[in-house]
Protein backbone atom coordinates (compact mmCIF):
# COMPACT_ATOMS: atom_id res chain seq x y z
CA UNK A 1 0.00 0.00 0.00
CA UNK A 2 1.26 3.49 -0.80
CA UNK A 3 2.18 5.92 1.91
CA UNK A 4 -0.51 8.34 0.76
CA UNK A 5 -3.06 5.56 1.16
CA UNK A 6 -1.77 4.66 4.62
CA UNK A 7 -2.06 8.27 5.68
CA UNK A 8 -5.53 8.54 4.21
CA UNK A 9 -6.72 5.52 6.13
CA UNK A 10 -5.09 6.70 9.32
CA UNK A 11 -6.86 10.04 9.02
CA UNK A 12 -10.20 8.46 8.18
CA UNK A 13 -9.87 6.21 11.23
CA UNK A 14 -9.41 9.27 13.41
CA UNK A 15 -12.06 11.35 11.67
CA UNK A 16 -9.46 13.73 10.37
CA UNK A 17 -9.27 15.13 6.87
CA UNK A 18 -6.82 14.61 4.07
CA UNK A 19 -6.14 18.18 3.11
CA UNK A 20 -4.07 19.68 0.36
CA UNK A 21 -1.47 20.79 2.92
CA UNK A 22 -1.13 17.39 4.53
CA UNK A 23 -0.81 15.75 1.15
CA UNK A 24 1.89 18.20 0.12
CA UNK A 25 3.86 17.85 3.34
CA UNK A 26 3.82 14.07 3.14
CA UNK A 27 4.88 14.27 -0.46
CA UNK A 28 7.83 16.48 0.28
CA UNK A 29 8.77 14.40 3.31
CA UNK A 30 8.87 11.26 1.19
CA UNK A 31 11.35 12.91 -1.14
CA UNK A 32 13.84 13.54 1.68
CA UNK A 33 16.66 11.10 2.22
CA UNK A 34 18.19 11.72 5.61
CA UNK A 35 17.05 12.93 9.00
CA UNK A 36 15.05 16.12 8.59
CA UNK A 37 14.09 18.62 11.23
CA UNK A 38 10.68 20.33 11.12
CA UNK A 39 12.44 23.45 9.97
CA UNK A 40 14.31 21.61 7.23
CA UNK A 41 11.04 20.22 6.00
CA UNK A 42 9.29 23.56 6.31
CA UNK A 43 11.90 25.11 4.06
CA UNK A 44 11.44 22.39 1.48
CA UNK A 45 7.67 22.69 1.65
CA UNK A 46 7.86 26.45 1.21
CA UNK A 47 9.60 25.96 -2.12
CA UNK A 48 6.60 24.05 -3.38
CA UNK A 49 3.98 26.28 -1.77
CA UNK A 50 5.02 29.27 0.25
CA UNK A 51 1.57 29.69 1.77
CA UNK A 52 1.89 26.60 3.94
CA UNK A 53 2.73 27.55 7.51
CA UNK A 54 5.26 25.99 9.78
CA UNK A 55 2.69 25.16 12.45
CA UNK A 56 1.08 22.88 9.92
CA UNK A 57 4.40 21.22 9.23
CA UNK A 58 4.89 20.56 12.92
CA UNK A 59 1.35 19.27 13.25
CA UNK A 60 1.62 17.06 10.21
CA UNK A 61 4.91 15.52 11.32
CA UNK A 62 3.19 14.53 14.55
CA UNK A 63 0.43 12.88 12.55
CA UNK A 64 2.90 11.09 10.28
CA UNK A 65 4.57 9.67 13.36
CA UNK A 66 1.29 8.44 14.75
CA UNK A 67 0.45 6.94 11.40
CA UNK A 68 3.69 4.98 11.38
CA UNK A 69 5.05 6.81 8.35
CA UNK A 70 7.71 8.77 10.15
CA UNK A 71 9.74 8.18 13.24
CA UNK A 72 11.29 10.68 15.55
CA UNK A 73 15.03 10.70 15.91
CA UNK A 74 16.57 12.60 18.79
CA UNK A 75 20.32 12.99 18.53
CA UNK A 76 20.28 15.12 21.64
CA UNK A 77 21.16 18.42 19.98
CA UNK A 78 17.90 20.10 20.86
CA UNK A 79 16.25 19.57 17.49
CA UNK A 80 13.90 16.73 16.72
CA UNK A 81 14.43 14.96 13.43
CA UNK A 82 12.26 12.68 11.40
CA UNK A 83 13.01 9.79 9.11
CA UNK A 84 10.99 7.45 6.92
CA UNK A 85 9.45 4.55 8.75
CA UNK A 86 7.05 2.93 6.35
CA UNK A 87 8.54 -0.13 4.72
CA UNK A 88 11.83 0.49 6.50
CA UNK A 89 13.34 -1.96 8.89
CA UNK A 90 13.83 -0.68 12.38
CA UNK A 91 17.35 0.50 13.10
CA UNK A 92 19.34 2.42 15.65
CA UNK A 93 22.03 5.05 15.19
CA UNK A 94 25.75 5.22 15.50
CA UNK A 95 27.02 8.78 15.64
CA UNK A 96 30.56 10.13 15.30
CA UNK A 97 31.13 12.69 18.02
CA UNK A 98 33.80 14.43 15.97
CA UNK A 99 32.37 14.84 12.48
CA UNK A 100 28.72 14.05 13.15
CA UNK A 101 28.59 11.14 10.72
CA UNK A 102 25.53 8.98 11.25
CA UNK A 103 25.35 5.28 10.51
CA UNK A 104 22.18 3.26 10.69
CA UNK A 105 22.78 0.02 12.50
CA UNK A 106 20.80 -3.03 13.45
CA UNK A 107 21.59 -6.03 15.61
CA UNK A 108 18.82 -8.62 15.96
CA UNK A 109 20.45 -10.08 19.03
CA UNK A 110 20.48 -6.75 20.82
CA UNK A 111 16.84 -6.28 19.94
CA UNK A 112 16.03 -9.69 21.36
CA UNK A 113 17.96 -9.03 24.54
CA UNK A 114 16.18 -5.70 25.03
CA UNK A 115 12.89 -7.55 24.85
CA UNK A 116 14.08 -10.11 27.39
CA UNK A 117 15.49 -7.47 29.70
CA UNK A 118 12.16 -5.65 29.77
CA UNK A 119 10.24 -8.85 30.35
CA UNK A 120 12.56 -9.77 33.20
CA UNK A 121 11.38 -6.61 34.98
CA UNK A 122 7.72 -7.28 34.27
CA UNK A 123 7.45 -4.83 31.39
CA UNK A 124 5.99 -5.30 27.97
CA UNK A 125 8.39 -3.50 25.67
CA UNK A 126 6.68 -1.16 23.23
CA UNK A 127 9.66 0.68 21.80
CA UNK A 128 13.15 1.82 22.55
CA UNK A 129 15.79 4.35 21.71
CA UNK A 130 19.39 3.40 21.30
CA UNK A 131 22.14 5.79 20.25
CA UNK A 132 25.76 4.72 20.08
CA UNK A 133 28.30 7.53 20.21
CA UNK A 134 31.90 7.14 19.18
CA UNK A 135 34.67 8.13 16.83
CA UNK A 136 34.56 7.02 13.22
CA UNK A 137 37.42 5.55 11.26
CA UNK A 138 38.22 8.73 9.40
CA UNK A 139 38.31 10.91 12.50
CA UNK A 140 40.37 8.29 14.31
CA UNK A 141 43.03 8.53 11.59
CA UNK A 142 43.01 12.32 11.57
CA UNK A 143 43.52 12.37 15.33
CA UNK A 144 46.59 10.16 15.01
CA UNK A 145 48.13 12.48 12.44
CA UNK A 146 47.63 15.56 14.60
CA UNK A 147 49.19 13.85 17.60
Amino acid sequence: MSEQKVFQEFLAEKNLRMTYQRKTILDVFLKTKTHVSPEDLYNLVKKRDSSIGQATVYRTLKLLSEAGLASEVDFGDGVMRYEHKYGQRHHDHLVCEVCGKKVEVFDPLIEELQEKLAKKHGFILTNHKMYLYGICNKCKRLQKKTR
Copy 2:
Protein backbone atom coordinates in the same frame (compact mmCIF):
# COMPACT_ATOMS: atom_id res chain seq x y z
CA MET B 1 38.04 9.00 47.35
CA SER B 2 35.14 11.22 48.33
CA GLU B 3 33.06 13.02 45.77
CA GLN B 4 34.09 16.38 47.17
CA LYS B 5 37.71 15.38 46.68
CA VAL B 6 37.09 14.21 43.13
CA PHE B 7 35.42 17.49 42.31
CA GLN B 8 38.23 19.43 43.93
CA GLU B 9 40.84 17.65 41.87
CA PHE B 10 38.83 18.04 38.69
CA LEU B 11 38.56 21.76 39.28
CA ALA B 12 42.25 22.09 40.14
CA GLU B 13 43.13 20.24 36.95
CA LYS B 14 41.12 22.78 34.97
CA ASN B 15 42.30 25.78 36.96
CA LEU B 16 38.84 26.34 38.29
CA ARG B 17 37.94 27.15 41.87
CA MET B 18 36.12 25.23 44.52
CA THR B 19 33.66 27.83 45.67
CA TYR B 20 31.11 27.82 48.43
CA GLN B 21 28.31 27.60 45.83
CA ARG B 22 29.83 24.63 44.01
CA LYS B 23 30.42 22.86 47.29
CA THR B 24 26.83 23.45 48.34
CA ILE B 25 25.36 22.37 45.03
CA LEU B 26 27.38 19.15 44.98
CA ASP B 27 26.39 18.51 48.56
CA VAL B 28 22.69 18.91 47.84
CA PHE B 29 23.02 16.87 44.66
CA LEU B 30 24.59 13.99 46.57
CA LYS B 31 21.62 13.94 48.92
CA THR B 32 19.16 13.36 46.07
CA LYS B 33 18.04 9.85 45.28
CA THR B 34 16.40 9.81 41.87
CA HIS B 35 16.75 11.71 38.62
CA VAL B 36 16.77 15.43 39.28
CA SER B 37 16.27 18.26 36.83
CA PRO B 38 18.26 21.48 37.17
CA GLU B 39 15.11 23.13 38.43
CA ASP B 40 14.50 20.38 41.00
CA LEU B 41 18.01 20.82 42.25
CA TYR B 42 17.73 24.60 42.22
CA ASN B 43 14.70 24.38 44.48
CA LEU B 44 16.53 22.11 46.90
CA VAL B 45 19.57 24.36 46.88
CA LYS B 46 17.43 27.42 47.54
CA LYS B 47 16.23 25.84 50.79
CA ARG B 48 19.80 25.68 52.00
CA ASP B 49 20.82 29.07 50.64
CA SER B 50 18.35 31.22 48.80
CA SER B 51 21.06 33.48 47.43
CA ILE B 52 22.41 30.84 45.05
CA GLY B 53 21.20 31.50 41.52
CA GLN B 54 19.84 29.00 39.05
CA ALA B 55 22.47 29.83 36.45
CA THR B 56 25.06 28.55 38.89
CA VAL B 57 23.10 25.36 39.35
CA TYR B 58 23.03 24.81 35.56
CA ARG B 59 26.72 25.58 35.32
CA THR B 60 27.67 23.35 38.21
CA LEU B 61 25.68 20.40 36.88
CA LYS B 62 27.64 20.69 33.67
CA LEU B 63 30.87 20.61 35.64
CA LEU B 64 29.73 17.64 37.71
CA SER B 65 29.05 15.78 34.48
CA GLU B 66 32.48 16.57 33.13
CA ALA B 67 34.00 15.49 36.43
CA GLY B 68 32.27 12.13 36.20
CA LEU B 69 30.18 12.75 39.29
CA ALA B 70 26.85 13.14 37.53
CA SER B 71 25.43 11.79 34.34
CA GLU B 72 22.79 13.28 32.14
CA VAL B 73 19.58 11.37 31.66
CA ASP B 74 17.25 12.37 28.86
CA PHE B 75 13.85 10.71 29.05
CA GLY B 76 12.74 12.75 26.08
CA ASP B 77 10.28 14.98 27.91
CA GLY B 78 12.18 18.15 27.21
CA VAL B 79 13.89 18.34 30.59
CA MET B 80 17.37 17.12 31.26
CA ARG B 81 17.88 15.13 34.40
CA TYR B 82 20.95 14.17 36.36
CA GLU B 83 21.83 11.16 38.45
CA HIS B 84 24.78 10.08 40.55
CA LYS B 85 27.60 8.54 38.59
CA TYR B 86 30.50 8.25 40.94
CA GLY B 87 30.87 4.72 42.27
CA GLN B 88 27.72 3.68 40.44
CA ARG B 89 27.74 0.99 37.83
CA HIS B 90 26.59 2.09 34.40
CA HIS B 91 22.98 1.30 33.70
CA ASP B 92 20.24 2.08 31.24
CA HIS B 93 16.59 2.88 31.82
CA LEU B 94 13.30 1.10 31.45
CA VAL B 95 10.37 3.48 31.53
CA CYS B 96 6.66 2.78 31.91
CA GLU B 97 4.79 4.85 29.37
CA VAL B 98 1.62 4.79 31.49
CA CYS B 99 2.71 5.64 35.03
CA GLY B 100 6.21 6.91 34.35
CA LYS B 101 7.89 4.32 36.59
CA LYS B 102 11.62 4.11 35.96
CA VAL B 103 13.70 1.00 36.45
CA GLU B 104 17.47 0.96 36.18
CA VAL B 105 18.63 -1.98 34.14
CA PHE B 106 21.88 -3.47 33.01
CA ASP B 107 22.73 -6.28 30.64
CA PRO B 108 26.43 -7.00 30.16
CA LEU B 109 25.75 -8.89 26.97
CA ILE B 110 23.94 -5.93 25.41
CA GLU B 111 26.81 -3.69 26.40
CA GLU B 112 29.24 -6.07 24.77
CA LEU B 113 27.21 -6.29 21.61
CA GLN B 114 26.98 -2.51 21.38
CA GLU B 115 30.75 -2.40 21.48
CA LYS B 116 31.01 -5.01 18.76
CA LEU B 117 28.40 -3.34 16.61
CA ALA B 118 30.29 -0.06 16.71
CA LYS B 119 33.58 -1.74 15.96
CA LYS B 120 32.01 -3.53 13.03
CA HIS B 121 31.34 -0.11 11.50
CA GLY B 122 34.83 1.18 12.21
CA PHE B 123 33.87 3.19 15.25
CA ILE B 124 35.42 3.32 18.68
CA LEU B 125 32.47 3.44 21.05
CA THR B 126 32.76 6.14 23.68
CA ASN B 127 29.30 6.06 25.18
CA HIS B 128 25.71 5.27 24.46
CA LYS B 129 22.14 6.00 25.39
CA MET B 130 19.56 3.29 25.66
CA TYR B 131 16.01 3.80 26.81
CA LEU B 132 13.47 1.00 26.84
CA TYR B 133 9.84 2.09 26.87
CA GLY B 134 6.98 -0.19 27.79
CA ILE B 135 4.15 -0.94 30.17
CA CYS B 136 4.89 -2.09 33.69
CA ASN B 137 3.25 -4.97 35.47
CA LYS B 138 0.95 -2.82 37.55
CA CYS B 139 -0.33 -0.80 34.60
CA LYS B 140 -0.77 -3.95 32.58
CA ARG B 141 -3.13 -5.31 35.24
CA LEU B 142 -5.06 -2.08 35.54
CA GLN B 143 -5.59 -2.01 31.80
CA LYS B 144 -7.06 -5.51 31.88
CA LYS B 145 -9.55 -4.53 34.59
CA THR B 146 -10.74 -1.47 32.70
CA ARG B 147 -11.23 -3.46 29.53
